[in-house]
């Protein structure tokens, strides 16, 4: 009797066909997930090189103003630019404001580069103020990449620039509240 029952069971078992297709689908889905997460584990990076600290104060070579542009990173994600030196930057109107997107600083740099006497050595001088944050800094480095500017430098804001920048911020800050005081 027991042997017969076993035989019947065996017959019944042969009738069960499990379709493994969904399990294969699941398996490959999980594999793909793990492959992608291990490759995405590595964070992106920007290579950065600081200028060497000169041992003695070196003579600044004569820089034609059209071959460079100074970009100031201000607070609240604002960005300003000018192409003047100390004698040229006389009032806040000479310091112009722009934005971080394609229409803004990218176009400004491209236009300035086109106007330069020697476009190959065109330099962007990045001067982050104390109000700017790290994101502004990384964004401007991105813009260097986008505009394919190889020559750029990061320096401190000069005192004469700081004064004009503060006056400029004061102006735009005032405009937001009521009409300008001039």
């Amino acid at each position: 009797m027991g042997v017969q029952a076993k035989l019947k069971e065996k017959k019944k078992e042969q009738g069960i066909h499990i379709d493994m297709t969904p399990m294969v689908d699941l398996g490959f889905l999980l594999i793909t997930f793990f492959i992608l997460t291990t490759t995405m584990n590595q964070p992106n990076t920007i290579d950065m090189k600081l200028p060497a600290k000169p041992d003695q104060p070196t003579e600044q070579p004569e820089i034609d103003l059209s071959n460079s542009i100074s970009v100031l990173l201000g607070k609240d994600n604002r960005i300003y630019y000018h192409q003047f030196d100390e004698s040229g930057l006389t009032d806040p109107s000479k310091l112009q404001e722009t934005t971080f997107d394609t229409e803004g600083i990218e176009r400004v740099i491209d236009q300035a580069k086109a106007r330069a006497k020697k476009p190959d050595i065109f330099t962007v001088i990045i001067k982050p103020t104390e109000d700017s944050n790290y994101e502004n800094f990384v964004n401007i480095l991105d813009e260097m990449e986008i505009t394919k500017t190889d020559h750029y430098g990061i320096t401190d804001v000069k005192p004469w620039e700081q004064k004009i920048y503060e006056a400029k911020v004061g102006e735009s800050g005032g405009e937001n509240v009521n009409s300008n005081e001039n």
């Binding site: 200028p51 060497a52 990384v138």
Partner: protein, 196 residues
């Protein structure tokens, strides 16, 4: 010509080997997935178009949080970390017990100044994230961050530095770090960003 088209045979494919292979490959990838040691602080790095992936070998990291606190992640190497801790201990006249040294080797980040390091190493790993600290000091009077970097370089001359800063951290913190790096003639490093 109305010939008999090739008879359609119902193909029954046994999927079992498929599943076996699939799960084998899956197991392989699960085991080789290296999880990045979770940082003690939440740092949201800024987005960048740069698509260069970070090479993790011999990499030490300085982390800067949103409110400007520094912390240091040494190169992941037990012998290297032991030597690094020895050098820092000598400079700051602190002696560490065997247990503390082992705890240091296991911790991925140092978020506290040397004065609090001993007590920090006694905190169990799971609670290390909850330790409230002002970070490692860095200014003209306190050069602790630079000491960590300098001794890491002594232990491993091919050490590389990366800076993991929060997007909203104020620039002067980075300016200070860059100035100090120039002082020790360390000019090349990486900035960690996320893909745009």
């Amino acid at each position: 010509m109305p010939r008999v088209k090739p008879k359609r045979h119902n193909v029954i494919v046994d999927m079992t080997p498929f599943v076996d292979v699939a799960f084998l490959i899956l197991t392989f990838f699960i085991l080789t997935a290296q999880f990045r040691s979770s940082d003690l602080e939440d740092i949201v790095t800024p987005k960048s178009i740069s698509s260069l992936t970070l090479e993790e070998t011999d990499m030490m990291t300085v982390n800067i949080t949103e409110d400007g606190r520094y912390s240091f992640s040494p190169i992941e190497s037990s012998s290297g970390k032991k030597q690094l801790l020895e050098k820092m201990a000598k400079k700051y006249n602190i002696s560490f017990t065997e247990g503390e040294i082992n705890s240091f080797v296991v911790s991925p980040t140092v978020p506290v100044p040397m004065s609090q390091l001993k007590s920090f190493l006694h905190v169990p790993k799971d609670e290390q994230a909850n330790v409230k600290t002002d970070g490692i000091p860095l200014d003209e009077d306190h050069q602790e961050v630079m000491d960590w970097i300098k001794y890491s370089l002594e232990v491993n001359p091919s050490a590389r530095l990366s800076i993991k800063g929060d997007a909203k951290a104020q620039y002067p913190k980075f300016q200070e770090l860059f100035e100090q790096l120039r002082n020790i003639s360390f000019y090349k490093f990486n900035l960690i960003t996320t893909a745009k």
